[in-house]
C-alpha cells in the first residue's frame, strides 16, 4: 500500500473530526461563528483529497461540475435577503438529497450493468434499455467487476429513496416559502394516496434490493419516491415549513450516511449520521418550541377537514 491512499483516508478522518467539532461549536452562541469555519476547512480538505483518489475518471467533468455548482450556490447565497434564509436552506438541502439519490442511481445502474456482464443470460433482452448500448468506455475485464453485496445494495436503495423524497420535498418547501405556491393542496383521501405511494416505492425498493434490478424498475422507483416527497409536502402550511425543512435535513443526512456505506467512505458515514441524529432531535425541539408535535405538523392538515385554515 502506497502512502497516497493512507493520506486520503487521513484527510477524511480529519474532515469528520472537524465536522463534529464545528457542529459542537455551532451549538453555543459564543463559539458559533468559528464553528462553521472549522466545518468549512473539513469540507475543503475532504473535497481536495477526493481529487487524488486512484482510478478516478472524468476529472475534467468533475472539476467543471464542482465549479458551476459552487459558483451558482455561492452567488445566490450571498445576495439573498436575510428574511429569505429558510427557503435557501431548504433549496440547498434539497440539492444534497438529490445528490445522494444520484449516487444511489449511479450505483444501481452500475449494478445492473455489472450483473449483465457477469450473467449475460440472466438479464432479459429489452433492446434500447440494454445497458451495454450506452457504453462509451471500454468496459473493465470481468475479473475486475464486483457486484454490490446484499447489504450495500439494500442500504444504497434505502439511501436513494430517502434522498429522493428529501429532494422533491425540499424543493416544494422552497417554492412555498418563496411564495411560488400559495395554496395548500388538500383533497379527500390524501393520506391514503400518500401511504399507497410510499408503499409502492418501498415495494419496488425491496425488489431492487433483492437483486431484481432492471433499468425500467429503477426509473419507476425514483419516479415514485420523487412523487411521494412532493405529495407529502404539498399539504403542509408555510408556518410549519421550518420544522419540515429540519426533518428533510435529517433525511438527507441519513441518505448521505447510507450512500457513504455503499461507497465505503467513512467521512460520509460519520457526517451523514451525525446530521441525521442531530437533525432528528433538532426537528423535535423546533416542533416543541412551536407547541406542536411532529405528527401534528406532518399530518395535521389531513384528517382535520381544514380545521386550521390559513
Amino acid at each position: 500500500m502506497s502512502w497516497l491512499p493512507i493520506a486520503i483516508k487521513a484527510c477524511y478522518f480529519l474532515a469528520a473530526l472537524l465536522f463534529i467539532l464545528g457542529l459542537k461549536r455551532m451549538s453555543s452562541p459564543r463559539t458559533a461563528r468559528g464553528g462553521i469555519v472549522w466545518a468549512g476547512y473539513g469540507m475543503l480538505l475532504a473535497v481536495l483529497a477526493t481529487f487524488f483518489l486512484p482510478d478516478m475518471q472524468h476529472r475534467g467533468l468533475i472539476v467543471a461540475a464542482v465549479l458551476i455548482g459552487v459558483s451558482a450556490a455561492w452567488w445566490s447565497g450571498k445576495r439573498v435577503a436575510m428574511t429569505a434564509m429558510p427557503q435557501m436552506v431548504a433549496l440547498y438541502n434539497g440539492m444534497g438529497g438529490g445528490a445522494a439519490a444520484a449516487i444511489g442511481a449511479v450505483e444501481l445502474i452500475g449494478y445492473v450493468r455489472t450483473l449483465a456482464i457477469l450473467h449475460p443470460a440472466g438479464i432479459p433482452d429489452t433492446s434500447p434499455l440494454r445497458p451495454e448500448s450506452w457504453a462509451i468506455n471500454a468496459l473493465p475485464p470481468i475479473s475486475a467487476l464486483v457486484a454490490l453485496s446484499p447489504v450495500e445494495l439494500a442500504l444504497g436503495v434505502l439511501g436513494a429513496l430517502i434522498g429522493a423524497v428529501s429532494f422533491s420535498g425540499s424543493l416544494i418547501a422552497f417554492a412555498k416559502l418563496q411564495g411560488w405556491l400559495d395554496k395548500r393542496f388538500v383533497f379527500p383521501g390524501q393520506r391514503a394516496v400518500n401511504l399507497l405511494l410510499l408503499a409502492a416505492a418501498v415495494l419496488i425498493g425491496v425488489l431492487l434490493a433483492c437483486g431484481h434490478a432492471s433499468l425500467p424498475l429503477i426509473v419507476v422507483f425514483f419516479a415514485l419516491a420523487l412523487l411521494f416527497g412532493l405529495m407529502m409536502t404539498l399539504p403542509i402550511g408555510g408556518a410549519d415549513m421550518p420544522v419540515v425543512i429540519s426533518l428533510y435535513n435529517a433525511f438527507t443526512g441519513l441518505a448521505v450516511a447510507f450512500e457513504g456505506f455503499v461507497l465505503g467512505n467513512e467521512a460520509m458515514i460519520i457526517a451523514g449520521m451525525v446530521v441525521g441524529a442531530a437533525g432528528t432531535l433538532l426537528t423535535q425541539l423546533m416542533a416543541k418550541a412551536m407547541n406542536r408535535s411532529l405528527g401534528n405538523v406532518l399530518f395535521g392538515s389531513f384528517g382535520a377537514a381544514g380545521g386550521e385554515a390559513q
Partner: protein
Amino acid sequence: MIDGFLALYIFMLAAFTGYEIIARVPVILHTPLMSGSNFVHGIVLVGAMIALGHAQTRFEIVIGFIGVLLGAGNAAGGYVVTERMLEMFKPSKPGTGKGAH
C-alpha cells in the same frame, strides 16, 4: 469496503454524537444549527465525485454530473447561508445574539 458490523458501530456512535451535540442548544441557535448541519451533509459532494469518477456509461456520467452539481450547491450554499446567519453572533457586537446564551 467497510465490514458490516464495523459500519454498524460507526453508525451507532455517530448517531449518539449527533444527539449529544444538539441536546442542550438554545432556541435562538435552532435555525443556524439546522443550516450548519445542512452544510455538513454537503459531504455528499465527495460521494458524488466518486460516483462520477467511476461512471462507465454515458447515462451514468450524466446522472453523476448532476449529482456533483447538486452536491457542490449543497456544500457551497450551505456554507454561505450559515456564515451569514452566524454573523449575527459576533462577539464584538453586544445585544444582537447574546440574549439566550
